[in-house]
Point group: C2
Chain length 322, copies 2
């Protein structure tokens, strides 16, 4: 069982690699190697299994093709330019999110072994002329270039799966919170930083209103769902390989209350409230309410409370004694 994770140096890529390294097997087979590909070759501190880092720009079709000299059994495709950046630079988003994805999928196709491919799409696929509460089967109408590019990747994944060139599974991820580390260029960055930074004694700005509803999921849940997506039978998805992942909806105020419950009142006092029209415009196009019935039927996990997410953040990302 050889596994490739693109974007393996990123937030979710690292956590996924750690979880796979810990469980040691996937799809009933012992994992022999995990390859983490990213712009700079990533490492995985304290890994038990053979984990190798590969410097790979997915925009480079020849390099991506060469990376498949030895076939993979499972590919997790996480490399991407995130929402804020893809909105600021349309061509960069297109190069990485569309062409990079196509380069990867063509390399997989030509490798010829039809591996399992788990693709990170996003609930940013939704917006615009869609109902206020998203259910399965509504027409996708993304209102960001990032969302549009993610859906184009979904279409490629579904078409190549239909053709038998890969066994694809596309997951539309809710906003993953609490994200550790530094703020990034995602418009959703504040949905982590107002918790992460304030719990670590820093001031953090909230650019949205308090009653903005956030559809979110915890890193632990999303990693479990990535692994679940690789484990189940591809045929269970039917002719549509792309699904909405479960998550939960809380307003900014409700999430702050959950943080206060777990971490006391000080962090909330460190949040500033300067509205940011650019971010508000992007997130206004997203949807805060989503029912992921198909995913639940397929056995994907759903978050039970944001207080759990706060606890897991403190355990996994602050204490760091894994």
């Amino acid at each position: 069982m050889r596994i490739l994770i693109t974007g393996g140096g990123g937030f979710i890529g690292q956590k996924l690699a750690r979880a796979l390294d810990k469980q040691g097997q996937l799809r009933g087979k012992a994992i022999t190697e995990i390859v983490l590909a990213d712009l700079h070759a990533p490492t995985l501190e304290g890994a038990s299994l053979p984990v190798s880092g590969m410097a790979l720009d997915i925009r480079d079709a020849a390099a991506v093709s060469a990376a498949f000299a030895e076939a993979y059994d499972v590919v997790f495709h996480l490399a991407a330019v995130v929402s804020g950046q893809a909105e600021a630079d349309f061509d960069l988003g297109l190069q990485v999110n569309l062409f990079g994805t196509l380069n990867l999928f063509q390399a997989i196709r030509h490798a010829g072994n039809a591996p399992v491919v788990v693709y990170a799409s996003s609930v940013a696929a939704h917006g615009g002329e869609e109902p206020e509460v998203i259910v399965d089967g509504v027409e996708l109408n993304p209102q960001t270039s990032y969302g549009a590019q993610k859906v184009m990747g979904e279409l490629l994944l579904n078409d190549m799966s239909r053709r038998g060139w890969m066994d694809g599974r596309g997951l539309r991820l809710p906003t993953v919170s609490i994200r550790p580390g530094k703020a990034n260029a995602a418009a959703s960055s504040f949905m982590s930083s107002i918790f992460r930074d304030t719990m670590q004694g820093e001031v953090s700005n909230c650019p949205s209103s308090k009653d903005y509803p956030i559809f979110h999921t915890a890193p632990r849940t999303v990693v479990a769902n990535f692994i679940h997506a690789a484990e189940i039978d591809g045929a269970a998805f039917g002719p549509n390989r792309n699904i909405n992942l479960p998550g939960r909806t809380d307003t900014v105020a409700e999430m702050i209350a959950a943080m206060t419950l777990v971490a006391g009142p000080e962090p909330a006092g460190r949040i500033t409230w300067n509205a940011d029209p650019v971010i508000q415009k992007i997130i206004a196009g997203w949807r805060g309410h989503l029912k992921a019935d198909k995913a639940l039927r397929l056995g994907f996990q759903q978050d039970q409370s944001f207080a759990d997410s706060v606890r897991w953040f403190l355990e996994d990302d602050i204490v760091k004694d894994r």
Copy 2:
């Protein structure tokens, strides 16, 4: 008013050019030039307005960009590799239908005048995990590479319109019947040839069953709808610039009966009935029933009977005294 029609040498491109030439104006302005771009420079017999032919392969980004040295007010994007061919040659379909469309849209973006762009998508966007009767707002789940590529073009059109780089309108065309001329590589080719060829004394094979429901529209209707799409206010589309076009549903048997009504019993006797599993597999993924409420609200035309389509074919394509 300068107009560009890509695929201007094709079936619909030629009929659209003729209709525009005849009406002389568009969006309240006199048409000063119609440019027909195609693989080989097309002509338009007996045109009244200045019509120029341009040899342009939309796969060639530099050539497409050069074609926009002088800006267009309205662009009709019809150039495409059709369903059967895109299914037989995935890479060709991708090059023309996805990259060609992207080349064109980037050239339009960089021209900087945000022209009206009318894009020929297809009801092949629908299929798979969709209801038996398609209504507006259902998640697109194309079951051909052609359909997937057309939807990717829709996403680009919508995103670039949202950004203000073009004023796009995407139309999902029903099968256009009766198509004159020779059979083409579209899987839907028989949906014209069993009428066209038999009315002209030839034998023609029907690869589907008699009760296969076809969602179709006449060339006259589709040309009127292309022009209507260019005339109306882009804002009327709302945040989703891509719509299902109206058409009508008849089974193969009902369409044959309509032909018999108009043209007598002989043509139907010239149809042979050899089932073709390849074609049946492709068309089984399509939908025969579709309600296009949004398009009707926007004033698009709906076909009233297939007998009309038979009459118009005899008038427009056989008699040829336009």
